[in-house]
Structures are given as C-alpha cells and as structure tokens.
Symmetry: C2
Subunit: 504 residues, 2 copies
Amino acid sequence: MTTDSTWEDFAARMRELRHLDSMSSLMGWDEQTMMPPKAAPGRASVSGTLAAIEHERMASTEYGAVIDKLEQESLGETRRSMVELAKRKRDQAVKMPARLVRDLAETSSRSQAAWIEARSKDDFSIFQPLLQRMFDLKAEQAEALGYEKEPYDAHLDLFERGATAEMLRPMFDSVAAGLTPVIEAARAHGDDDRVLPRGPYEVQAVLAYCNDLLERLGYDMEAGRLDVSAHPFTSEIGPGDVRVTTRVDTGNVQEAILGTLHEMGHALYHMGLRDDWAETTIGESVSLGVDESQSRLWENQVGRSLAFWEGELPKAKQSLRPWTDTTPEDVYRAVNRVRPSLVRVKADEVTYPLHVAVRFELELAISRGEIPVADLPTAWNESMKRHLGIEPPSDADGVLQDVHWSLGYLGYFPTYLIGSVYSAALFEAATQALGGADKVDAQLRAGEFAPLLGWLRTNVHEVGSLKLPAEVIAGATGKRAAQEIDTAPFVSYIRNKYGPLYGM
Amino acid sequence: MTTDSTWEDFAARMRELRHLDSMSSLMGWDEQTMMPPKAAPGRASVSGTLAAIEHERMASTEYGAVIDKLEQESLGETRRSMVELAKRKRDQAVKMPARLVRDLAETSSRSQAAWIEARSKDDFSIFQPLLQRMFDLKAEQAEALGYEKEPYDAHLDLFERGATAEMLRPMFDSVAAGLTPVIEAARAHGDDDRVLPRGPYEVQAVLAYCNDLLERLGYDMEAGRLDVSAHPFTSEIGPGDVRVTTRVDTGNVQEAILGTLHEMGHALYHMGLRDDWAETTIGESVSLGVDESQSRLWENQVGRSLAFWEGELPKAKQSLRPWTDTTPEDVYRAVNRVRPSLVRVKADEVTYPLHVAVRFELELAISRGEIPVADLPTAWNESMKRHLGIEPPSDADGVLQDVHWSLGYLGYFPTYLIGSVYSAALFEAATQALGGADKVDAQLRAGEFAPLLGWLRTNVHEVGSLKLPAEVIAGATGKRAAQEIDTAPFVSYIRNKYGPLYGM
C-alpha cells in the first residue's frame, strides 16, 4: 500500500469512529431531554450494542496495522498528532474486553434510571446495587487499562490525560489554603441581604431570556438548541450541532442564568473547534479540564462580573419582571455571595472547589477499596462536615445529588477544579492581550463579547487536540508547560474579587 | 455447532439489527423535530455510516450461513417465520452494493433538506438535481433487487410484500369507479356552510388537547411523546418508545386533530406489537398497508364518525374556545366535507384515493423512464386536473407538497390506498365481533375505546409479522387471502356514510 492509500484508509476509520460517537451523543442527549420513561430498558440495550460496535472498530487489527504503519512514516505535525491520538485511544480500547465495554454501557443506562428514582424518592438503597455494580466494573476497567501508582490514576487519565492523584493533591491543598480565609471572612461578615428577588419567575420567560443570552454572547442558534434537563449539560452531536440544556427553578433564577452561561462556555469551545478537523481525532475537545475552563470562564469571569451586569441588566429586566428594582450591584453581590451550601451545582465559586474536594477524597477511597458502597452516604456527610462545615439533612441533597457516578464518571470531578484554575489563568492572559482590565470591562459593559471569544477561538478552541492539555494552556498563557498545575492566578483572582466584597 | 448455539447466534444477530434500526429511527425523528439546521450536512454523513454498518451486518456471510443452516432444521412456526423474514431481508441487502446503500442514505438526508428549502421558496429547481439523483439511485436499486414484470414492482415489494403494479391497477380502478358518484353528488349538492370555526386557535391549547386525546384513546404517554414537525409522522424508536408528531395551523384545527388520530393509529399498532418479539424480525409492523389501515381506522372510522364526536365534543370544548357554539353534527359534517383539493394530507377521505392515484401514475411513469424529472411539475398538474379536476397554482402546493420522494420512498404512496381499503374491512369485522354497529357507536359515544383497541391488538397488532400482510388481514376479517385486494367493504363504507350526507 502506498502512503496515500494508507492515509485514506486511516482517515476513513477515524471518520467512522467520530460518526459512531455522534450517534452515541445523540442517544445520550435524547435520554436526558426527550426520551419517554418506558424506553429506558430498551435504550440501554441499544447503547450496549453501539458501544460494542465502537469497541470492535476501535480495536480492530486492521486499524492497529494502519496506525503502526503510519507511525513509522514521516508525517507533518498535524497528521502525526492524529495518529498519536488514534494510537492512544486504540490502546485503551484494546485493553478493554468487549464484555466489559458492553456491561459498562448497559449499566450506565440502568444505573442512571435508578439514580433518578433514588434521588426523587430520597432513597439511596434504590441506587446502591447499581452503583456497586458500576464501581465494580470501573475497578475492573482500571486493572485492564493499567496504572503506575494507583487505580485512581487510570480513571483520571481517561478524562485528563496524564493527571494523577499525586499531581492533583497539591492543587487541592493550595486552593483550599488560598480560599479558606475568604470563606471565613464571608462567614464573619454576614451577607443575608445579598439575594436576588425570589420570583416567582415564569419558566417560559426565563427560557426566552436564556435563549437571548446565548444568542447575544456568540452561541449560534442555527447550530444548536437549548432544552431543559434534570442535570444541565452540553452535547456535541456533530459539526453544526452543539446542544445545551439548563434547568429552571421558579423561585431562583440565578441557577438557570449562570448554568446557561456555563454550558454556553462548553458549547462555544465545541463550536469553535476546526471544521476541517471534525472527522479526525484532533478535532475534539482536548480534555475535560480545558473544556471546563471555557465553561467556568463564561460563567464566572464574565457572568459573575460587575461590568457584565452593568451592560446586561436592562436587557434582563425585559424578560424578568421580578427584577424591576434590581441594580447591577445587587446582581453582582448576589451572584458572588459566599456561603457553604449542600449542593455543588448551586455553590458559589469560592466554596465550589471544596465540593470537588469531597468527591476527590471519596473517589480516591472508593478506588482504593477503603469505603464500601453502603457506607457512602455516611462518608459523604462526614466529608461535607469536614470541608464545608455543614451536613446534608437528606441523601437527595447529599450523596445522591450528582448524576456522574451513575454514568461511571469516576475521576471526572477533579477536572472541575482544574477547569476553574485554568479559567483564571486564561482570563488573565486574555485580559492582557486585549488591552488590560479596564478595556475588557468596557467591552463586557458594552455587550461586546467578540474580542474575548475571538481570543479564546484562536488560542484555545482552534488548537483542538493538536497538543496536550497542559500545552494548550501553556501556549495560550505564554508560559511553559510544567508538571504541577499553577494555582496562583486562580487564588489571586478570588482574593482580588472577594476581598473587597467581604471587607478583607 | 448445536442447534441451540446456532439459534443463539441467529438471535444475537437479529437483535443487533433491530438495535441499529433503533439508532436510525432516532436520528430520523431528531432530524424532523429537533435538529438545528446547520447540522444537516454532518448528519447526512453519519446516516451514511450507519446505513453502511447495517448493510455490512445484514449482508455478512456469517449471518447468511446461520440462516441457511436454520432453514434446514425443523422449527416451530414462530421461529420459522423469523428465519424466513431474516432471509428475505438479507437477500435484499446482499443484492444491494454497499456503495448504493451509502449513496441512498446520504442523498436522502441532503435531498430532504433541499426539499424543505424548495417548498418554502416554492422553487422546484432547488430540489430537482437531488430528486434526479434520488430517482437515478432508485432505478439502480430496482435493477439490483430484480423484478418480474417492471422496475416499479421492485419498489412496491419493499413496502408491501408481494404487491405489483398489475395487482394494484384494479384496486385503483374499482375504488375510483365506486367513489366518483359520491364526489359528483357532493359537487352538485353544495356544502359551503360545512366548516369548523376558523379560529384563531392557540397552538399550545391545540397541542394540549391533542395530548389529552392521545391519552384517552389508549396511547401510552409514558412510552411516547407528541411533537411538532413539518410533515406529521410516527416513529418507533424501540420498545417503550413510539413517538408521534403533528402540525398545528392556528386557522384550521381539523388537520391537527385528525392528524394526531392518524399518527396515533400507527403508534397504537407499534405499541401493541409483542414485547417478547421486540428483538426479532417478526416483532415489526408487517407492511405499510397494514400499518396504514390502523392509522386510517382511528382517523376515519373513529375520528370522522358522529358517535365519536357526540362523546368527544364536550371535552374538546374545554380546550378549543372557538368551538363554543359548535354541535357534534357541525363537526361531523365539516370533517366529512367532500371537496377536491390540492394537498393530499388535507384531503377528505373520498377524494384522498385520487391523490394517491396521481402519485401511483407518476411513479409508474418515472420508473419506466417516461417522464424526465424536469417535467414533473407539469405532469403533476396535468394529472391533478385529470383525476381531481383542479390544478395547483404553485409547485409548493403541487409536486413539492410531499416529503416522500426526497427520502426515496418510491412505491410507498399506493400503501395509503391499501390502508384505506383494509381499514374498512377491519372495522367491518371488528363491528361484527363487538356486537354490531349500534353497540360500537355507543362505545365510541361513551369514550370507551378499549374494546375496539383490544380487538385490534388481538387480531392485528399481536400477530406482528408472523404472517404475510394479506394473511393478517384475512385472518382478522375471517376471510381467505386472495390475489386481488377486495375493495367492496371500503366502497360500501363510503357510500353508506356519504350517501345520506349528500342526499344520494
């Protein structure tokens, strides 16, 4: 075979794999937004079949042979990256027995359904057997994939290439050390008046406003859509098709708005990936941490800034009647109110990292076999007490609050903190590139989001997976990639913003 | 291999094929209800990949070998039918080159998008090149599949097993002969006052009413959902997941209501298929004609009856404000108003068969190469003039009105008339079994739909594809399956109902 025909063969296989991903994304989106309840068991079987086909294609000896052949040829940087990433993914797939792949996919659908029921009935025992099964399968997966120091590293690596428990521990520690004084200052200061009007907000009006917001900030409504789901998420179903969801509480509008900005951040990243790489391995989001840096940046650095609300408030008032007498400062103080709370997705950005720390700690213990699944509710509550000083009165607001474990996302939560840390570093670099903080504030105030989005497109989105996650961030921030994640920009962002807010 | 393991292998392959069907259905449903416009080209490629995988699995030599082996064993009726149907489908697949399968799937997505644009701009030239491409591919397909008398028979057989142009011609002729006097009587009689209030109807109120209707008539809302699409359709995505759509015109509520009953009829059939056959070849709708008999029966024999509206009207009035002064007789006369019109989906049940005749005639000519695609708009208008005495003022209401050709559904339209003819025969048999016309009328008036649905479940739905389409109908109506389709029950149903309405 000549190089050209080998490359064509390789390209066709990459394309087919991306297409199978697309089907899988569509099924996942449908399950969480549209699917009728009685479809769940049947859908689980179909997901299992699709996963088995994906695995068969990925692990095929023909694909392996093509990759091996191309590895020995001299290719440009772009093609070399495509081949390297293909090899990494194929190696992971080959290590996974087909039976395990199918079991994971089927258990994921079933256990998600059980989680929904368990949470709505506040009854962990409904979820427990399927969660046990899921963790057993994940333990098997870690052994199959292999790791250097401990099983948890195998899980982490799936979501954030190269991350290890050893590397993340200092990040958690230094962030906790940097943030604790802020939380204590907030506790001492008192801020009971810093709340947005309680509504009631009309669901349709809130959704209409969220749609406006998406459109004005740069989300392409012709290439996506906003729906409602129990747990908000973003789904790239394919080129020209990146969908987001939110949830609307008639008594609390903040969650819908900031949640929409969060998912929009993910979506803008996926919409900004290069079209000409769409059917290759490098045309994907590089890691969950980098993906999360985009959602955090739009949610926090933009959506929780005073400048943004100075420009946005008059528009928001057109849809949100209860906001008639609200000022930009009211919104700013409310969305930046620091208060240890029970539910991660409702947490402020200062206590949020501690919610992640609770999960990091428990996941590590689970993967080491130190906590039986039956004890998770108790262990959860103890960890919440230790990190945040509060204890959940119910499992629904405790161990049952997140969908992730039901889907088998062990090692996923730490990427939320990585994202926060990266978002601060990226915003710092963008601010400098765009002419300084005053200039960027003026743009946000004027509703000009194109310069910031443009900078992110060029420096992050269009790089795709051409480089390693840490290299993407290093390239964008003009620094060298290091072994440890630098938490300084994040801690100083928090201190600079919350110091004045809480008289530190 | 022992018989047991051969059977297990066969069962696993049937199951996988049904699962691939499920993915394909979900993508199709999404395309027509939810998908953002810019996703179309990418989705077309993904559809092509899925079609190629389905074809690969269906045509695999291993599947062929298992089928051949099982054909020689002595199996019970159920298993024998599964194997026979598998063989028929596989033979069709094997005859189709993989390239043709992929081209058909990709062209289908693209040409559907072109059709949507062409119709909205009333410009056939936008659609013409893709329709040409589609018909060329369909001609190739007919040659690949083979036929005895003419290419069109190959198309027909895909939708209605065993149907041929020669067999359908007498059905079209005898129905036209039987119905023409009714149409002439209606034309002479005058019925300008037989209309429902023009509205305006609120879209949300109409949809809420359609949802009520579905639920009360026996559609399981936990195993399906109602959405809006340009062309109403039913999609069986899997067990426990049969979705319907409708369209709502604020000035004309009749179409939304009867359209919902129509799609519900399809959905009740699919919901009534046996669960334990769900992952086999016989757990499917047996043919489009039988499927259509179910939609027609609920739309026409139920939804266009006086008894139904006598019971239904008070409930309808709760949602449909413009109906305040409407009587059951008003609705009955309006939904049974006979008037040659331009658009098939808006046609009454007497002129409807002539719309089908127009398409049957044109499709036959296309498949014989007697009409160039460029001449279709003119040929359409001429045929409308001949059959219905009216000529479309625009292609949007003429040759561009149906989605079907864009999807490659050549040979599909005749099944609409087969469905009407079968629906009358089935309703006649059900009426007799349930104690006569007065008894059934009393049930419809009382909103008791379970007896009729129960009869259809037992006699049609639960038979699945265990028998041939004509055998299913023969079994249900207690007659012997014959070569020709008996149109007498349909013609007498129309004459008995419309005679009194138009003073014949």
